[in-house]
Amino acid sequence: MSAGARGAGRGGGAPKAPARWSAASRAGRLELTASPHIKGPDSTPRIMWTVVASLAPVVVAATWWFGVSALILLAGATLGAVATERWFGPGGTLRDGSAAITGLLLGLTLPASVPLWVAVIGGAFSIAFGKLIFGGLGQNVFNPALLGRAFLQAAFPTVMTTWPTRPETWGTLAGDTFALPFMSGDAVAALTGATPLGLMKFESVGTEVARLAVGATGGSLGETAAIAILAGGAWLAAKRYLDWRIPVSILATVAVLSQVVRWIDPSSPGPLFMLFSGGLMLGAVYMATDMVTSPTTPTGAWIYGVGIGALVVLIRLWGGLPEGVMYAILLMNAMVPFIERATKPRVFGTGAPVEATS
């Protein structure tokens, strides 16, 4: 089945899957290029490692607020991702750093109290079923880190919705980090709190924006310190390593929609709270902007961002879950092929007649 040739002949899909890399890697060379909209000297490894570096403030904030468990979990998730890429991936793709980013981002979305083995499994799932099954970097549909997070959320709902409070000393574990593999941790050990969004949704209790901005709240490791995320994101945007349209459109949509809702129903949380709480910042800056799983056209980027923002507001305000950034991004990831078609008039308008089966 010559999938590549068949698809290319119809011209139906996005031209972002580089047919090159498999040939290159088979030849043993490491010169890999992924997303075609990146030009110039910026190679995939360079971009990827820059993204990793930009996450440094977020990692520092996570370790500050959640103690040594944060470091252990981030290492575990990264290890799970990198090891899977090493064993099952095409040779030589480790050095581009994309597996490390996936693992690190996944780790940043975990609560501090999850057992280490959960983080490792999440990392492995992200790479195996979020990326390698599509053929590797540049060809996946869903953001691998978020797909892994969604899998963990569905697999271990209790573990993934237990939010520990800040441990007393830096060296105290935030939960049963070293629970035996496949066994549940000792839930009593963790002192649990609630996320600002959970407090708002279930008890109508607000949280000060200042605390949200520095991260002195409950939540996933990397999502609490909004300022650290914005700093890293601004640097990446300045280097043009991420499409600024996406975070801007997401944040603007959330702000506008939540303000509109607040005019109608004054008891609903306002834009500032919505922007700075939960995983919105981390998702908008680091997850939604993933070059592979976001649209390549500027118009597409705007549509995509607005879609994510609208879904976030929908799920947060009217859904059963307190937070919906992960699902919003995954759903819009699934829409990307469609958006790409729609924003390319040449393909969309002509739409060659297609037979039912092939």
Binding site: M1, A3, G4, R6, G7, A8, R10, G12, G13, A14, P15, A17, A19, W21, S22, F129, L132, I133, F134, G135, G136, Q139, V141, F142, L147, A150, F151, Q153, A154, L311, L314, I315, W318, G319, G320, L321, G324, M326, Y327, A328, L330, L331, N333, A334, M335, P337, F338, R341, G351, P353, V354, E355, A356, T357, S358
Partner: protein
């Protein structure tokens, strides 16, 4: 009104017929290779589901109270014949519409989603209007799932998928991933 909205949203997103209830898997896996085909299949499904809902409401109200044990047989026979009659009517009245939808109509009749809709609607005790909203939600949900799957599959055709995952393995993993993503809609409009 809220109840009707919930019925619609629930059938479309929260309990999506395909991704959550596994109804209509045959077209979902078989006719999701092309977006244009998938879209037409989805529209044909909405159409047939609506007919089914009306038929089931009618049967439930007037016939089946007298012979509840004939429910399954009468559903399948009446719905299948109605779809066939509709197909002939469309062929006569609107050849264009027939070209768009016609070839899918007989395929749909033996699809779980149709009988599933009739049975679920009956088990939940939906009346005529509720049934219509249920059918509309189910049809929109099917179409959404089909079109999403088709546009993703068109993209992955260009990808260098490992040989073990070619064919249905990848499609099922994709369906699982979509199902995970749809979990975000859980609890929509109930609080």
């Amino acid at each position: 009104m809220t109840d009707l909205l919930w019925i619609l949203v629930s059938a479309m997103l929260v309990n999506n017929f395909t991704l959550v209830l596994f109804l209509g898997l045959c077209p979902f896996l078989g006719v999701s290779a092309r977006v244009s085909t998938a879209l037409r299949m989805g529209l044909a499904n909405i159409f047939v589901l609506t007919i089914t809902s009306v038929t089931a409401s009618f049967l439930n109200a007037f016939i089946l109270p007298f012979a509840p044990y004939l429910r399954l047989i009468s559903f399948i026979v009446v719905i299948a014949s109605l779809v066939q009659i509709t197909e002939m009517a469309i062929k006569k009245l609107s050849p264009t519409l027939f070209r768009e939808l016609g070839i899918f109509l007989p395929l749909i009749t033996t699809n779980c989603a149709i009988l599933g809709l009739a049975i679920f609607q009956t088990n939940r005790g939906y009346g005529f209007v509720e049934g219509l909203f249920f059918a509309l939600g189910a049809g929109l949900g099917l179409t959404l799932a089909l079109v999403l799957m088709a546009s993703i599959r068109e993209t992955t055709e260009l990808a260098d998928v490992p040989s073990m995952a070619r064919g249905m393995g990848l499609v099922l993993i994709l369906a699982g991933s979509l199902s995970l993503a749809f979990m975000g809609f859980a609890g929509l409009f109930t609080v």
